[in-house]
Each structure stands twice: as structure tokens, then as C-alpha cells.
């Protein structure tokens, strides 16, 4: 399978600390790739670089055939890169439905005048957006909450709204930043099932960050292990599980 995403020698520093150190790996189209590693290994920074929230100091990113040194978040979105956030960057004062609708912004073509006065392309856009939003809301079991203001919802539901918002625009590549953080085992199993289903049903390539290694070994077909911003292992779950460098990174004996 062709690689949808490739990182070539990407480095990033914050106030003197190297968050990412000459990182290179490739993600094949249609696969689920998990990024694991101890805290502070640079995983969130990596996602931020891929979709343009941070600008790498050096190195390139190749997405869907196009090569970038840096990309702006809006452009990344329009190319079909979607993501969820570790700390739930939901639009707090909007409802679930409005949050999901906002996720469709990159598909909007009507001008603002058409939007305001409800003519031209706005009508078609409204029905189209509403349909897509309803579909994803149903898919993720959020119908009961659709008119609730997200700030009032429990954490687990918020995480699903975040996912719905990222999913609704049918991205080619979906970056999930700790989608199971704060969940119990049952919830994690459900989220795992959702992720698998999204990948199967829509063919979305998924890159996710996750701490629960057990879940990850069952969910992902490709695992990349990071430690101190460097790649420590890169391969199938079986290969990674038995890699001594990986074990050492987690246990802290070799640095």
C-alpha cells in the first residue's frame, strides 16, 4: 500500500528542549498506526506538526504526494487531515450539533452574503451539512445530546463529540490525540470498536496516540515508539512488543 503520510527527519525544539529529534517514519494508506511512548516523548508535538499547529524546525512532511516544510492548519484541514485534541478543544458554548456542523467548515463554498441571506448555494449547503452531521451523530450514538451545550456534558461524551467533529468532514487522515484518556476499560473497548469501524467503513487512515499499550496492540496494525523525541521502534505489534529498546524505554534503563 502506498504511504499516505511520511515524516522525513522532522525536528522541533521548545525553549531549548528537543521535542522531536530527526524523526522519520511512514504511515500506509488505510492503516491504523499507533504512536506510543513515555510521557514527554513528543507524541502530541508530532501530531501538532503534522497538522500545522506547530512549525517544525527542520525536516519535511509528505502527505498524499505533496511535500511540505510547514503547513498552516487551515490548509491541512482542506487537504483532508482531521484531528481530535488531548484536552478537548470543543467549542464550549455551542451545542453538540453546532460543534459537529463546525467540523464541516472546510466543505463550505457559499459566500458569507449567501450564508446570511439564505440564497444561492446556502440552501444546498445547509441540507448537505445537516445530513452529514446527523449521520455522524447517529453513528456515534450522540442523538440524545445533540442540542446540549457541550460544556455541560460528561467527559466521555465530550470526547465522542470531538471525534464526531473530526469525522464529519470525512478526512483522509485522522489524527487522534489520546482518544481514550480518562476512560474506564468498558469505555475504552467501545472507543476501540468505533475506531476500528471508522477505519473499516470509511477507509480512513488513522494515527493515534495512546497510553494503554494493551488496547493498542489489539487495535493498531503499525506501531511507532517514541522516546525523548526519537524513534525507538517502528513495526508490527509483535515486532515492537519484543523489542528490547522499547522495553528499556518504558522501564528507563537505557537512554
Amino acid at each position: 500500500m502506498a504511504s499516505l503520510l511520511e515524516l522525513v527527519d522532522v525536528s522541533l525544539s521548545f525553549r531549548g528542549v528537543k521535542a522531536l529529534n530527526a524523526l522519520s517514519f511512514a504511515v500506509a494508506e488505510g492503516e491504523i498506526c499507533a504512536l506510543i511512548g513515555p510521557n514527554g516523548a513528543g507524541k502530541s508535538s508530532l501530531l501538532n506538526v503534522i497538522n500545522g499547529v506547530y512549525r517544525a524546525d527542520s525536516g519535511d512532511i509528505v502527505f498524499d504526494g505533496s511535500r511540505f516544510e510547514a503547513i498552516r492548519p487551515g490548509r491541512a484541514a482542506r487537504l483532508g487531515i482531521g484531528r481530535t485534541f488531548q484536552h478537548n478543544a470543543l467549542f464550549r458554548r455551542l451545542t453538540v450539533r453546532e460543534n459537529v456542523l463546525a467540523g464541516l467548515s472546510r466543505h463550505g463554498e457559499a459566500s458569507f452574503v449567501e450564508n446570511i441571506f439564505r440564497f444561492g448555494r446556502d440552501g444546498r449547503e445547509r441540507t448537505d451539512f445537516a445530513g452529514r452531521a446527523d449521520h455522524v451523530i447517529a453513528f456515534l450514538g450522540l442523538e440524545a445530546e445533540r442540542e446540549r451545550i457541550v460544556a455541560t456534558l460528561p467527559y466521555g461524551i465530550q470526547k465522542r463529540v470531538d471525534l464526531a467533529r473530526a469525522l464529519v468532514s470525512e478526512p483522509k487522515l485522522l489524527l487522534l490525540d489520546e482518544p481514550m484518556a480518562g476512560m474506564n476499560q468498558d469505555e475504552k473497548r467501545d472507543m476501540s470498536r468505533i475506531i476500528t469501524e471508522v477505519n473499516r467503513a470509511f477507509g480512513t487512515t488513522i494515527v493515534l496516540i495512546e497510553h494503554d499499550v494493551g488496547i493498542v496492540l489489539g487495535l493498531a496494525s503499525h506501531i511507532v515508539v517514541l522516546d525523548y523525541g526519537r524513534k525507538v521502534a517502528d513495526g508490527t505489534p509483535e515486532a515492537v512488543r519484543n523489542d528490547p529498546d522499547v522495553i528499556a524505554a518504558y522501564l528507563g534503563t537505557v537512554h
Binding site: 478543544a89 455551542l94 463546525a102 467548515s105 439564505r118 446540549r148 460544556a151 469505555e187
Partner: protein, 355 residues
Amino acid sequence: MTTIQDSIPEAGPAEALPSGATLLQIGLVAAGLVIAFGLVPSLASDYWLSSIIIPTVVMGLAGISLNLLQGYAGLVSLGSAAFMAVGAFSAYNLILRVPGLPLPAVLLLAGLIAAVVGVFFGLPALRIKGFYLAASTLGAQFFFPWLFTNYPWFSNNSQSLTISAPRLEFLGYDLQSPLGRYLLVATVTALLIGLAFLVVRSRLGREWMAIRDMETAASVLGIRVARRKLQAYAVSSFFLGITGVLWGFAYLGTADAHTYNLDKSFQILFIVLIGGTATIFGNFLGAAFIVLTPILLDHVVLAANIAYLSDQGAITNLQRVIFGAIIIFILIKEPDGLSAWIRRGVGALRARLGR
């Protein structure tokens, strides 16, 4: 396609107001129109119209204008009055130099000119975030009074640099009387309220609120943040321009550059604060407060017969203290303003009545 059904905790009290037009909302709008165009004109005295109702409605409109920018799009502005000035002076010059323009066209063009100016002063928003943005609109607030004072051309070279209201008329109807001016103000306001709702309930309004709540996430979703911010300045300033014309022509009668000063911008800011951010009707609550408090205070002072305070300066200062204290109080107790307080009250009432 699998759907995942989780057990979800019982729905709590916080629900968004229904976004479709419900029977109740249609009823309220109808009632509002009846009151505005039926009851008020027939019952209100000239004094009430001229001194209380017209300024309240116009300042409420000013509140809506600022609310669109600050409450919905999250962009700070301390220069609202400056854009009102641009509208007023533009209208004056249009009427003066382009003969035969009907009143609606004048209002529309004045609004558009103010919108363009607003976009210009909003450009820094593309790079500057948060509170620092106040510097740009504050700059506008100092620039325009200077501009209109320094170049007498804007006020037709009048000695006192004032602009006075033209003969207000439309389709042959004379709008000079208090009633006429009220109808003008009410009609324009009703139309602009309608426009405000259209804007806020459109994709534009939704994306503004997204940018307000979490800008990074908004850009990550593909929302064109820069474009939306400039559109916010454009729409808000359009509203402010028209408001400025109404304030100068339908309420005051004459205006000069200093009519639309920093104090006025602060008043509008207070209206938004008191009435509530991200509301439309709340602004009229705030405006009522701003307009009525000085009047009430005057009456209280008169009634209490406090000779000490009959000095106008002292009353003004007392008003200042009261205003300031109320601002602080509202910020502490009810940061979302009176409309949130009312909404909560209504919610509690509904809960009490058992839905």
C-alpha cells in the same frame, strides 16, 4: 454501520434554546411588533418618545452591533463610537453632496462606508490576539474625532464643526416629529434585528462563535479565521454606522466629532456587559439601564431634596460611582449579564412548574 449505545447519564437542566422557530418565538415576535408599532406610538407621550424610548432603542442597537463583534466573534473593541461617527458624518455628507438620495439609501451607504473603515481597523486582528487588540479600536476612537475636527470639510465648513440633521422624510411622510422619528428608529431597528438574527444563525455566526471559543481548533477544522474576523468587523461596523446616523439625526438633532467619544464607547461596552454577551434582545435591557439610570437618579435627588446634591457636577459624579459599582457587581455575580440572569430565572420557573 454500527451505532454504539452507551448508558448516558440523565439529561441535566442545561439545554440550548431551540434553534428552530417555535410557536412561542413567533408569538413573541408578533407581540414585539404589536408593542413597537401599535402600543408605543399610541400611548407614549412626546417626552417619553424623545427622551427615553428613542435613545434606548438606538443604544440597544449599538449594543447589538458591538455584541456581534465581541460577544459572538470574541474580538475586543473600544472604539464603537468612532464607527458611529463615521456613519453619521458619511450620511451627512451624502445628503449634502448627492442630492435626491432617498433616506434608506443614505442609511445603507453610511453603513457600508463604516463597514469598510471597520475592516481597515480590524486588520490588526489578524496578527494580534486578545486584549492587545483594544489598541487598534482605541486608536480609531481617537483618530476620527480628530479627523472630523481637523478637516472642517466633513461638517461643511460650519463654524462650530457640527452636523445637523437633515429634513427627515421618506416617501413623502414627514418624520420630523417625535412620533415620526420614533417610527423611523423602530423600523430600522426591527430590520437590523432581523438581519442580526440571520447573521447569528448562519454558518458565519457559528464559525464566529467557534473562533471565539477556541481559535486553534477552529483553524484546524478549516475555518477561514482571518476572513471571518474581518467579516465580523465589517458587519459590526455596518450596524454601528447606521446606529450613528440614527443617534445623530433621529435623537440628538445635531452632533459633532465629540458626540461620539470614548465615554460613548464605554457606555456601549457597558450595555453589552449588563445586557449579556452573545444575545440580541439583552442589549435593550442594557440600554434601558444606561438611559434610565441618570434620569432615575435625577428624580431621586429631586424627591429626596438633598440640597448638597443639586449641584449637577455632584450628581454626575454620583452616577459615575454607581455605574462603576454596578459594573463590578455584575462582573462578579453575573458575568453573562442580565439576559443570562433572566434565562436562568425562566429555567428555574419552568423546572418549578414541572415542565
